[in-house]
């Protein structure tokens, strides 16, 4: 049964899974070899988080679905990730803008989720917060370099931030599944993350000499299964081999 707790674990797990899939696309395409290593590393951390969270969601649901059943056999309307993570990679500046926005959010989230009354979620958060601290630092360093590098990199960084900015808001919107869990101390209330997130991101942009992107109409829907057109293609690629051999073991 899809209880609020299942939905919450799926939302966190889907964020991590879909972003891992996107970052994996950079491997063998990065601007330098060190970044092939770094982006693969971040993708691996996220994939590890996703696997634990999906497994947990499957166990709670009690319908016999394991991590692969949840990753490979759900259609896009059943994915609960925020729209931000499914956006195409764009150039390196778009990817780093997304990394900054998302890692800074995930850091604040996991930092608080360590105190969850749910032991599994608390344990996931305890491990992930260290990984995400590195992801946030990696993105920060790049936003500084690109923002305060050359004219071209600055122009691209500004454009990258403008691309992802409308999708940041969704991360902080309250949703029904989460609201039911906040009172029990299981989940972190998303709106409470907005202030610390803003102060971190604004600090980075200020240091890079970048202005906050202009406010744009926020985009959301992912937590309710209303995605962009991009997710269908991402899933088609990710799922096709697994689905072509139903019941097979890999």
């Amino acid at each position: 049964m899809t209880t609020p707790r299942v939905a919450y674990a799926l939302a966190l797990g889907d964020d991590a899974l879909v972003l891992a899939q996107r970052l994996g696309e950079w491997v063998a395409r990065a601007p330098e070899l060190e970044e092939d290593v770094a982006l693969a590393n971040i993708a691996l951390d996220l994939l590890g988080q996703a696997r634990t969270l999906l497994r947990y969601a499957g166990d709670l649901e009690g319908a016999g679905r394991d991590e692969d059943a949840l990753a490979y056999w759900r259609d896009d309307r059943d994915f609960r990730n925020a729209l931000l993570v499914e956006l195409p990679n764009g150039d390196f500046a778009v990817t780093m803008a997304r990394q900054l926005v998302f890692a800074a959010y995930q850091y604040e989230l996991y930092d608080r989720l360590r105190a969850s009354s749910d032991d599994t979620l608390a344990a996931v958060a305890g491990k992930a917060v260290k990984e995400v601290h590195y992801h946030r630092d990696h993105a920060t360093q790049w936003v500084l370099r690109l923002g305060d590098g050359t004219d071209e990199s600055r122009r691209r960084m500004v454009a990258g931030l403008a691309t992802v900015w409308p999708y940041a808001d969704e991360l902080f919107q309250p949703d029904d599944a989460t609201a039911a869990l906040v009172a029990d101390g299981v989940a972190v209330d998303p709106p409470t993350l907005r202030e610390p997130w803003t102060s971190y991101v604004e600090g980075v942009l200020a240091e890079a000499g970048l202005e906050l992107p202009e406010a744009a109409a926020p985009r959301s829907g992912g937590r309710r299964g209303l995605h962009t057109e991009h997710l269908g293609f991402l899933l088609a690629e990710m799922q096709h081999l697994h689905r072509s051999h139903p019941g097979a073991t890999w």
Partner: protein, 292 residues
Amino acid sequence: MPEAYRKTLIRQIAQHAHSEIIGMQPEGNWISRAPSLRRKAILLAKVQDEAGHGLYLYAAAETLGVSRDQLLEQLHTRKQKYSSIFNYPTLTWADVGAIGWLVDGAAITNQVPLTRCSYGPYARAMVRICKEESFHQRQGFEALLTLTRGTPAQKAMAQDALDRWWYPSLAMFGPPDTGEQVSGGHTEQSMRWGIKRFSNDELRQRFVDMTVPQSEVLGLTIPDPDLRWNAERGHYDFTPPDYDELFRVIKGDGPCNAQRLAHRVAAHTDGAWVREAAAAYAAKRRAETEAA
């Protein structure tokens, strides 16, 4: 250090480094489609290791006074080579397993002797790399074993991969170093210098002897009707790969040469503005420190 020794070492280390980074492409091709999340994680980690191998090797070459940028330029302009094996396509998931088992297996056979080669920085890089390659080899074998114990379609996929990768893997050891090939090649000189320790044919034989029993555990058939144990020699007899094909692929006429190089050049070119930005940023910070 004699100039000829230095040059040969640079060429060998560069070719090895280039092979590591070009080799990321055929396997990276399956990261997005890996059939389970566990396999996706294993593959991501493997391709990440190969990037790391490239980094150690370019660093080893730097100790000989040549920069990574200079070597990449040589790769991008086709003045230096990479292993011909990576000019074959990965068409199915089983190819990922076959590459781990056969290509990493052949790489280990080639490289373990180099952990005792005469140039310290190269030998030390090889020690670290060989440890990871043998891990890759076991993972590749295990991925194939899962297929051969799976459905008929999975087993057929595994056999098809072995059929396509067997001879290109044998060709990884290079042409025979007898007769005409020796005078044109570098084997004899490199052996005297201690940067090659066994002949291509010795290494190829070692690889075949190691791999045949593994293929039996997998329940797969090596596509060579003349493969058999020769008790007198204490080795397997086998059909050599088609060396004309090898030379064609080395010259640039393999199925994926153009694609692999174009992909590498595009990644490098598309990333130029990022590297320039990082350099400009570092220069600004240096200037600030000096002014302070």
